[in-house]
C-alpha cells in the first residue's frame, strides 16, 4: 500500500541573525492509510516543526531539503494556493493547547462553520447543520447551544473536542495531531484519545500523532518515530520499540517515567543534561553527551541510520555493531539500574 504521507530526508531551516539555523535535519517517516504513526521526543526535538513543514505552516522557516509527498504528490515546494487547498481539506491539524488555538473572539460555531465553508461550497445554514453534527460526533454535550459558546466558556477537554471537530470538518485523509492532550487532565486525555481513535476508525484517516509521552504512544500508535535534536533516532512498530528499544535514548526515555510497576525505592533512569540547542549541536552522535553508553566513536563520528529489522531503523553506533549491543534487558521502566 502506498503511504498517504511520505517524508524523506526533510530538512528545515529558520533564518536568524546568525544565519540559517537547521532545526530539523534529515527526518524521514511515512504514514500509511488508516495508520497511526507517533512522533515522540523531548521538547525541542523538532516534532512540531516537522509536522508544520508538511502543511507549509513554518512561518519564516523554510524547507531546506528533502521531500514531502502526499498521496504521491510532492508538496514540499508547492505554491501557497495548492497548500491552502490541501490544508483542512486533505490534511488537517489538531494543536496542542486548545485554548490558544481557538480564536477567542469568535464563537465555536463560527469557527467550525468557517472550517467547513473554506473548502465546501455550502450555504451558511447548511454549514451550521453540519457543524452541529460534527460537534455531536466529537461528543460535545448539547451541541446546538454550544455553537454559540465562546472558547473561554468551554473546559479544556471541550475546547479540544472543538479542535478535533474542526479538523474533521472536511473529512481529511491525514490528520496531524500535535500533542493534542498535553494540556489536559488524564481523564480528559483518555477521552480525547479514545475519540480520535474512534473517529480515525470511522473516517479511515491516517493519523500522525505527536507526543512526548511514551504511554500515549503505547495506547494509540501502530508505529513510532523517536526524534532527538532534529533527527530521527529510532523507528519501528510500537511493540518492538517499546519492548526492545535499540537506541539508548529511547531506552532512557522509557525508563525515566514511573509506571504502575516502578518500585517506590527504585530510582528512575535519569538522562543527565538537556536537549541541545539547535544552534550548537554536539559533534558525532547528537545524543552522546547524555548517553550512558557513549564510546569514543560516538563523540566524533556521526552514526549512520541502521536498519535493525523490518521497517525498523536506529541511529546509533551500538546498533550498527549489533553484535555488541547489549540485548535490551527487562521490562520497560526498570531502566538502567
Amino acid at each position: 500500500m502506498n503511504p498517504v504521507l511520505d517524508v524523506r530526508d526533510l530538512r528545515v531551516e529558520f533564518p536568524t541573525a546568525a544565519g540559517a539555523l537547521g532545526v530539523v535535519d534529515g527526518v524521514s517517516f511515512d504514514v500509511g492509510p488508516g495508520e497511526t504513526v507517533a512522533l515522540v521526543g523531548e521538547s525541542g526535538s523538532g516534532k512540531s516543526v516537522s509536522s508544520l513543514a508538511v502543511l507549509g505552516l513554518l512561518g519564516r522557516g523554510r524547507i531546506a531539503g528533502g521531500s514531502v509527498s502526499f498521496r504521491g504528490e510532492e508538496i514540499a515546494g508547492a505554491g501557497p494556493e495548492r497548500l491552502r487547498r490541501l490544508r483542512g481539506a486533505e490534511i488537517a491539524m489538531v494543536f496542542q493547547n486548545p485554548m490558544s488555538a481557538l480564536d477567542p473572539l469568535f464563537s465555536v460555531g463560527d469557527q467550525v462553520v468557517e472550517a467547513i465553508r473554506v473548502h465546501r461550497p455550502v450555504g451558511r445554514a447548511q454549514a451550521r447543520e453540519r457543524a452541529v453534527e460534527l460537534l455531536r460526533e466529537v461528543g460535545l454535550p448539547d451541541p446546538e447551544r454550544r455553537m454559540r459558546s465562546y472558547p473561554h466558556e468551554l473546559s479544556g477537554g471541550q475546547q479540544q473536542r472543538v479542535g478535533v471537530a474542526m479538523a474533521l470538518a472536511c473529512d481529511p485523509e491525514l490528520l496531524i495531531a500535535d500533542e493534542p492532550t498535553t494540556a489536559l487532565d488524564v481523564t480528559v486525555e483518555a477521552q480525547i484519545l479514545a475519540l480520535m481513535r474512534r473517529l480515525q476508525r470511522e473516517h479511515g484517516a491516517a493519523l500522525l500523532l505527536i507526543t512526548h509521552d511514551m504511554s500515549v504512544v503505547a495506547r494509540m500508535a501502530d508505529r513510532v518515530v523517536v526524534m532527538y535534536a532534529g533527527q530521527v533516532v529510532e523507528r519501528g512498530t510500537v511493540a518492538e520499540v517499546l519492548s526492545a528499544p535499540t537506541h539508548p535514548y529511547t531506552r532512557a526515555l522509557i525508563g525515566s517515567v514511573p509506571t504502575v510497576h516502578t518500585g517506590r525505592d527504585e530510582l528512575l533512569t535519569v538522562i543527565p543534561g538537556s536537549v541541545p540547542n539547535p544552534a550548537d549541536v554536539p559533534d558525532g552522535c547528537r545524543f552522546h553527551p547524555r548517553c550512558p553508553q557513549a564510546v569514543e566513536r560516538c563523540r566524533t563520528e556521526v552514526p549512520p541510520v541502521v536498519r535493525t529489522g523490518e521497517g525498523r531503523i536506529s541511529r546509533c553506533w551500538l546498533a550498527e555493531d549489533a553484535g555488541r549491543v547489549p540485548a535490551p534487558t527487562g521490562a520497560p521502566g526498570t531502566g538502567a539500574r
Partner: protein, 320 residues
Amino acid sequence: MTRYVLRRLAYGGVVMALVTALVFVLVRLVPGDAVTMQLAESGASPEQVAALRAEFGLDAPVWTQLGNWLAGVARGDLGRSFYGGGAPVTGLFLERVPVTVSLGLLAMLFATVAGIGLGVLAAVTRGSALDAAVRSFAVAFLSVPNFVVALLALTACAVWLNWSPPLAYRPLTEDPVNWIQQMAIPVIALGTAGMAGTARMARSSLLESLGSDYVRTVRAKGARERTVVGKHAARNSTIAVLTLLGLELATVLGGTVILEQMFGIPGTGQLIYSAVLERDYPVVVACTIFYAGLFVVTIIVIDLLYALVDPRIRTGRALS
C-alpha cells in the same frame, strides 16, 4: 455587566464631583476676575467696580459661591455667563457641544481609519521599504505639534492653492460644503498624531496576532490570507487599538482648544479658552465638567466596546 456599568457610572460621578470642586477652586486662584477684565482701562470708578463685583456674586467667599452654584445645579441651572449680557451657561454651551463633538469624532475617525490602514499596510508588508516608510512617517508625525501641522497646512493651501477655509462657521445642517471645507484642516491637524500612534499600534498588534496560535489554526483550516488578516487578526488587534483611541481622545479634546481658536470654530474648546482668559467662571466650570464628563463617558464606552469585541469580557471572565 450591568452592575459593572453601574459601578463605572458611580465612579464617574465621584470623578465629576472631584473635578467640579477642583476647577471651582482653581479658577478662583487665577489672578483677576471678570470684573477686572470688563472694566479694564475703562475709566470706571472704584464704586462701579464694586457694584459689578457684587452683581456677579464675586464678593462672597469661595465656599458660599460653590454652595450657591451647587444649589443652582440642583435646579438644573449651571449659572449665567458674566459676559454677553448674562446668557445662561447651559444654552451657551449646548449650542457648542455638537461642534466640538463632531470635530473630535471626525479627528478620531480620521486617526483611526488612516492609522489602521497604514498599520495594516505596514504589517502585511513587514520588513519592506513601505513598512519602513510608514514607520518613519509615524514617528515624524508624532513629533510635530498639532498647531504646527495646522499652520503649515493653512499656509500651504493659501500660498500654493490660493485656498483657505471659509471664515464663518456654518453647521453641517445649514451648509454642508462650507462645513466640510471648514473642518478639513483642523480635523487633519488634530488627527495626524493619533493616526501615527494608531498606525504603530495597529501594526504591532496585528503582527502579534498574526503570530498567534489561533491564526495558525485558521491557516491550517486552509483559509485564505484575506480571512486570516481581515477577520481574525484584525479583530484581535482591535482591543489594543481601542485602548489607544481612548488615550488619544484626551489629546484630541485638548487639541480642540487650540485649533478651534485658530480656525474660528465655535466649539467648547474655544469657549473654555476664552472663558479662562476672561475669567468667566461659570463657563469655565461648565466646560471643564463637560470635558471631564466626555472623558468619563468615553472610558465607559470604550470598556463597553471591549466587551462587544471580546466575549471573554462580555461574559465576565477575566483575561489572563
